[in-house]
């Protein structure tokens, strides 16, 4: 035992460090989504998490000396973690990394690796403390495991909630101070305690000197717009969805689906940005006749003073549109509460009170969640175009689950459309068209080809497509109205019941008649061959595979990349490609750092294969289940922020409790692992089969109760998931303690790999397969355990 350090103190240090590390991880992800882009943030943070596994490799290499100085390492590490966290903040500002140049300039890859390497340090140091604690206190593995998981669970919860009140640097300050508290618990002398107190006291004013502005890549939409003469950032708010910025510029103009023929000037606009990406504009009150010259306005030509539901209120363009067309009632769903607050306060007068509750029903929640829980019906449901063309064309969101654009969601939306009413969805047109064709396929799958044939209209401008789905067939008068609307505005007709090829692709000419051909084939029952032959992945998104923006297909490589080389690179979905890149780097680094240290250390320990299989399988299985159930529970809660907090927090805390409970069970460890795996399999199968039932029951309750029930539902699954890891670690400690840090490292590496791999499997085969793969890994682990490690 380390001199002067009780089991309780060690547990406390592990708890605090675990909490701080997960909070730091979430914060880094949020920060880099602002500095760079969402998909690059995933890549950087995934690489940084290699620090967890690397700590195992380091302990293997320097096992004896680290154990000898265990108390010192535990005491010094919190200081070093805090120091590295703040140095990283500084370095991430000065390391010139331009992710957009990564395909053109090899040095950008080096910058990415350098950035990831520095970011790895705090995770490495934190994981070193945890891994070393297991190694040094082999008699308290279950207790340390509980502290580790409970800490991580606790860390995931407050950091998500603090986004409601605090900026990123303030959160980092809290994280730093929390970590420094660990040094008090790890202190073994009065001198050390005094040093900790001095550092803590000195740290507060030092931290207050932190920079306030978040660095942003100079090619992000906001950075570019900010460079315009006379531009300034008028308002910035940091919230759970990231940074909301409002740009005041005399020259800001944004309305993507405006007709080339529009005779009216746009009003004065302010730019609205989310994490530096364009998210629309706030229009000033005034002449709104330009609204009649947009593809998104075609539905108003067919409906007289409709009651409207707008999903994605943003800066209020669609609310203004509804007002201009004298909508009878307006309901707006906007889940970003910061945007709603800005529109109701600071920009109320400028926008003409678009978000006033007297003029519209404002619902701060997720669009799918509202559609599921409401019983109301609307004459028009409008889903607006919120992300920027740059983000859409780069495939920034290709890894994001989108539960609004799935077959099931569109069925729900169509059920909320009153008889004779219309669902209107607008999307960007890329070339060749991808997500707009995927939307067409998803709508036709939701409605069924026969019904869709008479109830579908598709029009497009030079860069946006608007799809209308009517509850009932379109009448000849309505079709004539659509034709007139398009003719005056230079929009193309893509599909209406009875259209002929000669009427399409005339004004805004694409090199192929993509939309008409797609509609004809999808409506004629030829969809399977169409999906196979189309150069991009346009198969409808479903709740099991909710990656609407994912359109990459392996045939892209044959059709474009090989024949055309890097000219074809702009057509790639970057999110997906980078995830594969991250996985490849993670696998290579992990294998090297798993194999090399054990070779260098000259360990003669037997049973390495069994240990590798057992802890590797557990790492993958745990992350596969956690990621899959996060996805499942998003559909119960329909709030990504709360879902992440509840699911991740509950999984970790309950697993920690599971580990502790297993000590009390009067069963052999072999039996414990077997029972745990059977238990996990039973709960998983039950939950998968009762998924719709749970969703149906939960929607009867408000969000708070849904969160509590969701957390309780996770318990029966997460508790047994906490048993195999400490059981295995205890056994390794008994059989060959030299392999214990190695096992810790393997689990760390495979957990990081598991997070990326789970998303890739879900994209290609759905989350159900991820769950089944997790069960297979648990069965493998149970088998290895029953055979024995050595």
């Amino acid at each position: 035992m380390a001199p002067g350090l009780s089991a309780g103190r060690i547990r406390f240090v592990v708890f605090v460090i675990s909490a701080a590390l997960i909070a730091y991880e979430i914060l880094l992800f949020k920060l880099f989504a602002i500095t760079y882009w969402h998909h690059f943030a995933s890549l950087i943070v995934s690489l940084a998490l290699l620090g967890f596994g690397a700590s195992g490799a380091f302990i293997v290499l320097f096992h004896e000396s680290l154990k000898k100085h265990f108390a010192g390492v535990l005491y010094v590490s919190p200081f070093l973690i805090v120091l590295s966290v703040w140095i990283n903040m500084f370095l991430s500002r000065i390391i010139s990394f331009n992710p957009l140049m990564i395909v053109w300039q090899p040095k950008e890859t080096l910058a990415l690796l350098a950035l990831s390497l520095f970011l790895m340090v705090p995770f490495f140091l934190g994981a070193l403390c945890i891994g070393l604690s297991f190694s040094a206190r082999r008699d308290d593995i279950y207790g340390i495991y509980f502290a580790n998981l409970a800490g991580s669970g606790a860390g995931s919860l407050p950091v998500l909630l603090t986004f409601f009140h605090m900026g990123p640097y303030e959160i980092l300050l809290v994280i730093s101070l929390t970590i420094l508290c660990a040094s008090f618990a790890a202190s073994t002398s009065r001198v050390r305690t005094a040093i900790s107190a001095v550092v803590l006291a000195a740290a507060v004013p030092a931290f207050l000197l932190h920079p306030t502005a978040i660095p942003m890549n100079s090619f992000k939409d906001l950075s570019v717009a900010f460079n315009q003469a006379g531009a300034r950032i008028e308002k910035e708010v940091f919230g759970p969805f990231g940074l909301v910025s409002v740009l005041e510029s005399p020259f800001y103009h944004y309305l993507p689906d405006l007709s080339l023929n529009c005779p009216f000037a746009l009003p004065k606009q302010k730019g609205l940005f989310l994490n530096g990406d364009a998210a629309g504009a706030i229009n000033s009150a005034g002449d709104t006749r330009f609204m009649e010259w947009r593809t998104a306005s075609v539905a108003y030509r067919l409906l007289d003073r409709p009651s409207v539901l707008i999903i994605g209120g943003g800066g209020g363009t669609e609310i203004l549109n509804a007002r201009h067309h004298k909508a009878q009632k307006i309901s707006v769903v906007e889940m970003n509460r910061e945007i709603v607050a800005l529109m109701q306060r600071e920009y109320r007068a400028f926008s003409g009170g678009l978000y006033d509750i007297a003029a519209a029903r404002i619902l701060v929640e997720d669009g799918r969640g509202y559609l599921e829980r409401t019983k109301r019906r609307f004459d028009l449901i409008q889903i607006s175009l919120l992300e920027s063309m740059e983000s859409a064309s780069a495939g920034v969101y290709s890894l994001n689950e989108n539960y609004l654009f799935t077959v099931e969601a569109l069925r729900t939306a169509l059920a909320r459309v009153a008889p004779g009413g219309i669902l209107s969805v607008s999307r960007w047109i890329k070339n060749p068209p991808r997500d707009s064709i995927k939307m067409l396929a998803t709508i036709i799958a939701a409605l069924g080809p026969e019904k869709a044939a008479g109830s579908l209209v598709v029009i497009r401008s030079w860069q946006t497509a608007t799809l209308l789905i009517k509850n009932g067939p379109f009448t000849p008068a309505q079709i004539a109205a659509v034709k007139d609307f398009c003719r005056e505005r230079l929009f193309d007709l893509c599909y209406y019941p009875g259209i002929s090829s000669g009427e399409t692709n005339l004004i805004n000419k694409l090199d192929e008649n993509y939309f008409f051909n797609a509609a004809k084939r999808l409506l004629s029952g030829d969809q399977e061959r169409f999906y196979d032959e189309y150069p991009f992945y346009v198969r409808p998104a479903t709740d099991d595979r909710p990656f609407f923006a994912h359109t990459f297909k392996a045939s892209f490589i044959r059709k474009y990349l090989i024949p055309y080389g890097r000219v074809s690179i702009p057509l790639l979905d970057w999110g997906y490609v980078l995830l594969w890149t991250a996985l490849a780097i993670l696998v290579v680094f992990s294998l090297v750092l798993i194999v090399v240290p054990i070779r260098i250390s000259g360990s003669s320990a037997r049973g390495k294969t069994s240990v590798f299989l057992y802890f590797g399988a557990l790492g993958l299985a745990y992350l596969f289940l956690e990621m899959s159930f996060l996805q499942q529970f998003i559909r119960y809660l329909y709030d990504p922020v709360f879902s992440a907090a509840v699911v991740i927090g509950s999984f970790l805390v309950y697993s920690g409790i599971g580990g502790l409970l297993s000590v009390k069970l009067d069963l052999s460890s072999r039996l414990q692992v077997r029972v745990a795996v059977i238990w996990i399999a039973g709960v998983v199968i039950l939950y998968l089969s009762a998924d719709r039932f749970f969703a149906g029951v939960l929607f009867a309750f408000p969000l708070g109760i849904r969160m509590a029930i969701s957390s309780l539902l996770i318990a029966p699954l997460a508790v047994p998931m906490g048993i195999p890891f400490p059981a295995g670690l205890s056994r390794v400690a008994k059989e060959d303690e030299n392999l214990l840090p190695w096992a810790w490292g393997i689990n760390g590496f495979l957990s990081v790999i598991g997070a990326s791999a789970a998303v890739l499997i879900a994209i290609s085969h759905g989350f159900v397969l991820v769950v089944l793969a997790a069960l297979a890994f648990y069965v493998l682990a149970a088998f290895v355990y029953s055979v024995g490690f050595l």
Binding site: P106, S223, N227, H253, Y254, S388, M389, W462, P570
Partner: protein, 244 residues
């Protein structure tokens, strides 16, 4: 220190040291001179532009004569003739040489044609247009870039170019109508006022995509009766299969 300890330290340090090797090589390479730039320029025209199907003699001549390396920042001067867009500061780029050549060709810019450019950037596109004898009116919204481009173009004796720092959304009424408009800094949509300043029979081109990723070019054509049609052109479509 025994071998084991050395091996352990190297195992930790080598990956760190390897990160520094790339940037360190930059210091060892000398900057190319004018003669080698000329060779690079010729190679650029042959390999990146002619092979990809640009065949307008005047455009090719301009691409051969305009000193592209004078339009890029010093840090990237060695890559001036590479088949890549390059950053020029303020979140802007100088387009890939082939995109510049292709846009110049498809708007039918030629001697004595009036061309409006929205988004001067470094001034390279304006210099190419000027080199083929067009009268160029170019608007840049970022004051620093506008000033630098105006000075550069003046220094390099491109006399038929006028640079203005303003909002390009409303075009340049005083010099309208134009035979061609090139919009290199696209807003969220094609500004309708610009189309009004296009002469009947005139052409306008807009590259679409991210800053380093031109996915396609939208070509708007105004017919003699004033009607507008657009065409969506994908860069990979123009590249012959042999043109990798």
């Amino acid at each position: 220190m025994n071998m084991n300890a050395i091996r352990k330290i190297l195992a930790v340090l080598l990956p760190v040291l390897s990160i520094g090797i790339g940037p360190a090589t930059n210091f060892l390479c000398a900057e190319p001179n004018e003669a080698s730039f000329a060779v690079m320029r010729e190679r650029m025209v042959e390999r990146q532009i002619i092979r990809r199907g640009v065949d307008d003699v005047e455009v090719l001549r301009a691409m051969r004569t305009v000193l592209r390396h004078r339009f890029v920042p010093r840090e990237v001067i060695e890559q001036a003739y590479d088949d890549t867009p390059l950053p020029i500061g303020y979140g802007q780029t100088i387009s890939q040489p082939y995109i510049v050549a292709y846009m110049t060709q498809i708007v039918h810019a030629g001697r004595n044609t009036g061309v409006l450019e929205i988004g001067t950037g470094s001034g390279y596109q304006a210099a190419i247009l000027s080199a083929i004898g067009a009268k160029v009116y170019t608007i840049e919204i970022i004051p620093e870039l506008a000033k630098a481009a105006a000075l550069r173009l003046k220094d390099m004796k491109y006399k038929n170019v006028i640079v203005r720092c303003a909002d390009g959304y409303y075009g340049w009424k005083e010099h309208a109508p134009f035979d061609a408009i090139i919009v290199t800094a696209a807003a969220g949509h094609i500004p309708p006022p610009l189309l009004k300043q296009l002469r009947p029979g005139g052409r306008m081109v807009i590259p679409i995509g991210g800053p380093f990723m031109v996915q396609n070019l939208v070509l708007a054509i105004k017919d003699e009766a004033g009607g507008i049609k657009t065409q969506n052109l994908m860069p990979v479509r123009f590249v012959p299969l042999t043109g990798r």
